[in-house]
Amino acid sequence: MSIARPTFLAVLVAAVLLALGSSVSAFEGEGPLYEAAKKEGALTWYTAHYNSDTAAAVCAGFEKKYAGIKCNYIRTTAQVAYQRLAQDQKAGIAAASVISSTDIGHYGRMKKDGWLVAYRPKSLSDLIDAFKPFNDPEDMYVITAAGLVLLTYNTSLVSAADAPKKWTDLLDPKWKGKVSIGHPGFSGYVGTWVVQMRKLYGWDYFKKLELNKPRIGRSINDTVTMLNAKESWVAAGPSATTLQSRDKGNPVAVVYPEDGALLMISPSGILKNAPAPNAARLFMEYLLSKECNEIMVKLRNDSVNKHVQPLPGAKSLADVKTIRPTYEEILKGIPEVKEQFRDTFGI
């Protein structure tokens, strides 16, 4: 008995500590917010930030962390997500609670049209500091996803030594008929990349690229298919999908360009007519959380939480030389380069 009692006590204390530990709030006010969100039961999330595997995993992680709230995701491209939302708004339908587009221009428009509602996540301090300037000063949207556009190649066709090292290497005539890129009229990633290339090297870059007759797909992810099919040897591709494909054993690899990998950072916002406003807030906190970013990193997306490190084989964003146009440059530039792109490439 005299031995059993302290053991019992120790177990009790441990249990209490454990219970406390697991219920320690990830952020201030988590408990009441969770309770309020649970009453709403479910939230719908329109997202273009990642592919559907990642979106599914992020949703599943949310449902696990906050049992009792169902997470429905609709994953499409940025343009379609926006179109859906626009139709919803026009018809007065309250379907989505959170919107995650990759075209930053959408946010300016949504804000102007009064579709968004301000919320400053309590977990904002966990966001990588370099991203903070891109948040809306009025808290209408916050950066929740990051990725890179970089040089990619098929390792069974191109040796690491021969692989392009900087963006201008894609102009080398030895890649004629072997370069793959996406289309700015479809992909927000590609649009931003074209704006950045124009900024660095002028439109001449694309006139010269046209001499190499690049294979133009729609999404930036199409370049991964082209490389795997050996139809293209090198590409301007995305980090996440390329590395995901490499993890499966496909012969693809990435090069962080010397003149800078294009940093894509994409915000999320809460809709004013959100049917589940509390769940939406909770979800925004979750998107910044350690758990969620660990899931993203596992699927080769980049973390936006400064405490989560990437898996081996991918560099931390902090160690990569990144480049990025300003918000104004993107907003003004994407419609311009779409036209220029069509004039130069004929589609």
């Binding site: 599914a56 072997k178 795997n228 589609i347």
Partner: protein, 573 residues
């Protein structure tokens, strides 16, 4: 006294009144709501200013004000005509061989055509990129290895490449239309020609083919319209091939900020084209009497091809290799590969992709069920409606019947993406809010594939001589009795085919689904399309494979349920 007599006379008149009239009126109402409402919204939008809503012709000025836009329209016309022509080359000889000759291996050919039809064209297009990509396509590499040349002859990223792919996935319409027409022609006519000294070729060209001409023309138009309204395959092939077609151009109008009004204006001439084509088809057919199913018996004996049996089978297998066997090989390879970029190797084989798609991903399971439930429901709706309309038109039960057939054919020219916008606009506001429910998808699919159902029902009803029903009516039977005991049995087989012709495209329909689905109503085509630009070809192929396999099983089951004669027919006739 007089009032009682009056009442009796009313009762008598009521009793003799054809009660089916009410059903006809109701059905016409449904047709108007399904087709006219979204189209009217579209037409209205084309004359509306996007910002202010004021009436304007500005959208037309924008839509036709640039050479690039016009060029895309021109490309679509070229694509449509070339595809329809190639489909005729592919489909008609095969239909003739399967229906009228003693060619061996008919079961295999028929199964391959069914497989082709079930395979979504965007899945086929991805497979063809692997087969005929100019740098690394399997066929090109095989050619290079065989001939020792430095480059292969094929380039999928061209207009001819696109024509081939689109034709591969739409020639089954031509095959089925022609075949059902051929199945109805009795051998007596051919034998009469033979007795009078005509050879096989002459008989076929002068007797058999002219009798099937209406079916071939109908299919030609369907092929043309299908080709110009397609979005998936052109997006995969035309863009990398550096040319635009109408649907990829429409995509541009939906870009941020979306110009729905301009898109509506841009889609309008296609309606005109359909109307003209339809009118043309009518005129060609109207000159000749083409009633072949007279109920006067008639036997169908297969034509003996002799030594030509094998080249004929060779041709059938050649076409189905292009459309089904080769692409399926690619899909199978990717579905069972750990990493499809590594090529064929034993240590690269895995069941993980299929297991993941089937068991680990709840979205796929739900989407699979939705796909087939929606497909089946819309096929039933479309067919019921189309049959009724075709019957009304041909038996001249109401005035202006001809207009109804135009309306029933109209949805075919509306690209799915535009139809979806029309539906969205029409059914997200009161009085009928369908958005967010399965009904909006089912009704959109019904509308979208109504023309296929109609073209089939039209051909089926046209082939049945009204004398057969008139006989029933003369003998005192009601119209209902005539329909149940005469029409239904005669049409049963053709309709089973028609059901499947609507069901299959509904299971793979993408362009309208992508705008109308919500979280609770996802379908497989949407999942597939997501994967097509995600570079995740292993999973894409697994989902594609599941779609193809389940549809094949369901269709086979359907054949068995509807009537064994269908199956027997294909193996013995």
């Amino acid at each position: 006294m007089s009032t009682a007599a009056e009442a009796r006379s009313y009762r008598l008149r009521w009793r003799h009144l054809d009660k089916s009239l009410f059903v006809w009126v109701l059905l016409i109402g449904v047709l108007l709501v399904l087709v006219i409402n979204p189209l009217a919204r579209l037409l209205w939008a084309s004359f509306q200013d996007g910002e202010t809503g004021a009436l304007t012709l500005g959208n037309y000025a924008v839509a036709y004000g640039r050479w690039r836009y016009l060029e895309a329209l021109g490309n679509s016309l070229v694509l449509g005509v070339a595809v329809a022509a190639l489909c005729t080359v592919f489909g008609v000889p095969m239909a003739w061989a399967v229906s009228r000759t003693d060619m061996p291996g008919k079961g295999l050919v028929w199964a391959a055509i069914l497989g082709t039809f079930i395979m979504p064209s965007y899945l086929g297009a991805v497979a063809w990129i692997l087969l005929a990509g100019p740098n690394a396509g399997w066929l090109n590499r095989a050619w290079m290895a065989l001939t020792g040349t430095a480059a292969g002859p094929l380039d999928v990223y061209t207009m001819s490449g696109l024509v081939l792919i689109v034709a591969c996935y739409s020639f089954p319409y031509m095959f089925v239309f022609t075949r059902s027409a051929l199945d109805l022609i009795s051998s007596e006519m051919e034998e009469a020609a033979a007795t009078l000294g005509a050879g096989v070729v002459r008989t076929t060209l002068r007797v058999t083919l002219p009798l099937t001409l209406p079916a071939i023309l109908g299919a030609f138009i369907v092929e043309f319209l299908e080709a110009i309204a397609l979005f998936g395959a052109p997006a995969l092939i035309a863009l990398p091939g550096r040319f635009q077609v109408m649907t990829t151009m429409l995509w541009q109008f939906f870009e941020f900020p979306p110009k729905v009004e301009v898109a509506a204006a841009y889609a309008m001439p296609l309606l005109v084209i359909t109307v003209v084509l339809f009118w043309l088809q009518r005129r060609i057919i109207a000159r000749k009497g083409f009633v072949a199913l007279t109920g006067k018996g008639g036997e169908r004996r297969p034509l003996r091809l002799g030594a030509w049996r094998w080249p004929m089978l060779g041709y059938c297998l050649f076409v189905t290799s292009l459309s089904f066997f080769l692409p399926m090989l690619v899909v199978l390879h990717a579905a069972f590969a750990k990493a499809w970029g590594r090529g064929v190797a034993l240590d690269n084989v895995t069941l993980h992709n299929l297991k993941f798609v089937l068991f680990d991903q709840s979205t796929t399971q739900a989407a699979t069920i939705h796909t087939f439930v929606y497909g089946g429901t819309s096929a039933a709706f479309a067919l019921g409606l189309a049959l009724a309309i075709a019957y009304i038109v041909h038996r001249r039960l109401v005035p202006f019947g001809g207009t109804l057939s135009y309306i029933a054919m109209a949805p075919f020219v509306i690209p799915g993406i535009v139809l979806a916008i029309g539906f969205y606009a029409a059914y997200t506001t009161r009085p009928l809010v369908l958005y967010g429910t399965a009904w909006i998808l089912i009704l959109a699919f019904t509308t979208r594939f109504l023309p296929i159902a109609y073209a089939n029902s039209d051909a089926a009803i046209r082939s049945v001589n009204p004398e057969l029903e008139d006989a029933v009516r003369i003998l005192g039977g009601s119209r209902r009795l005539a329909m149940r005991r005469v029409l239904a049995p005669l049409l049963k087989r053709g309709l089973a085919g028609a059901f499947i012709l609507v069901f299959i495209p509904a299971t793979r329909e993408l362009s309208s689904a992508i705008f109308l689905y919500t979280t609770g109503t996802q379908v497989l085509s949407v999942l597939l399309f997501d994967k097509s630009d995600e570079g995740n070809f292993e999973i894409l192929s697994s989902i594609g494979l599941i779609l193809v396999v389940i549809t094949v099983v369901l269709v086979m089951l359907g054949f068995r349920l509807v009537g064994r004669d269908f199956m027997l027919k294909r193996t013995t006739a």
